[in-house]
């Protein structure tokens, strides 16, 4: 135990006494996190420039630009489509929007957005943000149009209802008139009148022939003629009743049509404008609590610090130890190789954990983010596990390579590989399946996933046991390798 303590003390003293190493090792991650926490502790995008061009701007295109100009975007009208597109290539603007000339809601042409897809980390964020803003404007317009439409339909509905009532009354009155006429015609007994009129005419002829009626016959004839005329009118009235019946049927049909229209209108269940404009409402909810860019990226940043610090600090201390004059004396003391490896590993772990503690203090002070007590133990375990893998990997590199330069190159190469084959730069889903399954064993991914789950979702160790055991496996294998390589490095030292 004394030996272990003395190895730790010696390593820490050597680090502290080497001012440049101490500065880089302790202040490097501190400055990094300080800058990152200050810069990314926001949910916004800043100073995103949108170039716009249209042959002829309309009030609608101006209004869309006005909408885009709010908040984080700056819209700038450019002279031509080519200038607009080329400005993306030269990074002067981030998005180019080409509006159809005299854009109105009746226009069938699209608004075209040009983006630089090579800027992977930005393009989708910007597009998403722009789409959302344009969509807001589009929804506003849809709402206005739909409101008009709905109001017109509602107006028509009420007019139909009103007209239907009148038609019903009309229909009833016509039926009543028809019935009255029918009854009058019936009571007049029109068919007998014709017969009776004929016999009266016959009687008048007979009277005229006998000459007994004198002048009366003339009056009588005139009355009979009038009577016959009236009788003819009554028979015309009967035919009018028939027409009236036809009209009543027509009125009934109109009424039925109007009722059908009204029923159709009434059968439309959704009449609220907002529901018609967006019948399916979507809401994206996060499974983690709302946070800033920094909150989401913090687990990754933490693993990046662990990766680079772990690899660099441990490889540097091993190279310094190897090139130290005292290296040989260490080998010939009655102290086991394993104790040296463990002592050096522990020293590096203490340094890395000190950095992590400093980082958490800085994060707490500057971004106000606090860590819940319930996750502290799990968090500490996973940080130690992840840091241990990188430290042992760094020690292995340190023992494998002869000089600081080659060791640093190896560290940068390995760190880059681990970083590229993680979710940090490109989603793993962009990799071919075979590579993706290999990348799944990347300690960077394992550590980042585990820390993300703990920090963002408060996950217990049981749920991240896969990551835990794979990292544990790495630690055991790397420890054995470091032990073997240190033994072999004796031979190199003598040669």
């Amino acid at each position: 135990m004394n030996k272990l303590f003395e190895i730790l003390r010696k390593n820490i003293l050597l680090l502290v006494r080497s001012k440049t190493s101490a500065l880089i090792v302790l202040l490097g991650p501190l400055v990094l996190i300080l800058l990152i926490s200050t810069a990314f502790n926001t949910t916004s995008l800043y100073d995103i420039k949108i170039g716009a061009y249209s042959d002829s701007y309309s009030s609608l295109s101006d209004s869309i630009m006005e909408q885009l100009n709010a908040d984080e975007f700056k819209v700038e009208k450019l002279d031509s489509m080519d200038v607009c597109i080329n400005s993306i290539k030269t990074n002067d603007i981030h998005v180019c929007a080409i509006f159809p000339s005299d854009l109105t809601i009746e226009s069938e042409e699209n608004i075209e957005f040009y983006v630089d897809t090579s800027r992977l980390n930005l393009v989708y964020v910007v597009l998403n943000s722009i789409s959302s803003k344009v969509s807001t404007k589009s929804t506003e317009l849809s709402t206005a149009l739909t409101s008009t439409l709905v109001a017109t339909i509602e107006n028509a509905d009420s007019k139909i209802a009103e007209s239907s009532g009148r038609i019903i009354i009309l229909s009833a009155k016509l039926t009543e008139i028809k019935e009255q006429i029918s009854s009058s015609v019936e009571s007049l007994g029109a068919s007998n009148f014709t017969q009776d009129a004929g016999s009266l005419e016959d009687t008048a002829e007979e009277l005229n022939a006998t000459g007994e009626a004198g002048d009366l016959i003339g009056s009588y004839k005139s009355l009979v003629t009038k009577l016959v005329s009236k009788i003819n009118t009554v028979s015309e009235l009967s035919s009018s009743v028939t027409s009236l019946e036809a009209e009543i049927t027509n009125v009934q049909e109109v009424k039925d049509t109007l009722s059908g229209i009204q029923d159709n209108i009434n059968s439309v269940q959704v009449k609220e404008v907002s529901k018609i404009v967006s019948p399916i409402k979507t809401e994206i909810k996060t499974v983690s609590s709302e946070g800033t860019h920094f909150t989401y990226t913090f687990p990754i940043l933490l693993v990046i610090v662990l990766l680079f610090s772990g690899l660099l600090v441990s490889s540097t201390t091993v190279i310094e130890e190897k090139s130290s004059k005292a290296f040989f004396r260490n080998f010939i003391t009655p102290t086991s190789n394993g104790l040296f490896v463990f002592g050096n590993f522990l020293s590096n772990l203490i340094i890395i954990l000190s950095q992590v503690i400093i980082i958490f203090i800085v994060v707490f002070l500057f971004s106000g983010t606090s860590i819940s007590n319930s996750i502290l133990v799990n968090l500490a375990i996973m940080i130690i596990m992840t840091a241990s893998v990188f430290i042992l990997l760094g020690m292995l590199i340190g023992y494998l390579f002869k000089s600081g330069e080659t060791s640093n190159l190896a560290v940068i190469t390995i760190a880059s590989i681990l970083l590229f084959f993680s979710n940090t730069i490109l989603p793993l889903e962009t990799l071919p399946l075979a590579l993706r399954s290999i990348a799944g064993f990347n300690p960077f991914i394992l550590g980042a996933d585990a820390l993300k789950e703990i920090l963002l979702f408060n996950t217990s160790l049981n749920l991240i046991s896969t990551e835990f055991y794979i990292l544990l496996g790495y630690i055991v294998v790397l420890f054995v390798l470091v032990f073997i390589i240190r033994e072999l490095s004796k031979r190199r030292y003598i040669e």
Binding site: K3, L13, K325, A326, T333, P334, T335, I494
Partner: protein, 314 residues
Amino acid sequence: MNTPFIQFISITKIFSKKIVLDNVNLEIPYGEIFGIIGKSGSGKTTLLSILVGFIKPEKGKAFFQGQDLSRFTNNIRQQFGFTAQEGSFYPNLTVRENLEYFGTLYNIPYASLKEKIPETLKLVNLTEAENKVGRSLSSGMKKRLDIACAILHDPKVLILDEPTEDLDPLLRKEVLRLLRKINKEKNVTIIMTTHLLEEIESVCSRVAILDNRTIIESGTVNELKDKYSKNQEIILETYSGKYEWLIKILKPNKLVEKIFESDGRLIVYSPKAEGMLKFMLHEIEKKKEKVQDVDLNKPSLSEVFESLTSQDKK
């Protein structure tokens, strides 16, 4: 039959298919200062590394008090102290911190360390530099710190690889004095390598000559001198300091093994030194030169070494 204190039997060491040590046999007695001499790259450091268990030989065995060094246990390690050619301490730790660190690695309990450190610092005359960091020490102090780190745990054997390398003559003498003191006061067997033969001669009681990957001779310094040097050394100095004419006369003489000028003096090696000196004085008198100083010496170890290694080459 007494067990030799340290014994190498048929040691062969190969690095990258190159034989570095070939069938080395050597015995080192207890309590002496033992010198191993050899040219650069002759395998001196490799031999010492085998002795401290840092590397294992391909063939042969090394023994310490009858214990096989190939099974280099912590118990055996505890009996050895080692100083490397370039020093083996941490330059960014203080003298005390270095001693505390190596003392702990050599299983010295903390309570004993408190007593041992001042004692050792006093022995190597570094008491005043106790709190100075290693890198700020002078060359001589660094060497003494290195020796302090090697003797703190009271080893039975102190091994020094080129202990006076890169030191000026005064510091060399100081280090050699310290070694004699350690050998005497602590009764430590000292094994040292060097290619500076004068210091071996001044401090070592026994030497071994390592050449062509093997030990070609070993014994006391006088034994070797008597055995291998057929010449004596004549050192002559005249007031004029001009010797070209004399060299011209002496060079063809078969009794002159070697003749050269050095620091205004003429050095002549001859198996019949007395007769040769008479002849030289006669020639000087004839030339009417005046002799300022003349000396007749036994051969140096350097000459023995040269004689042995050149014989080996023939």
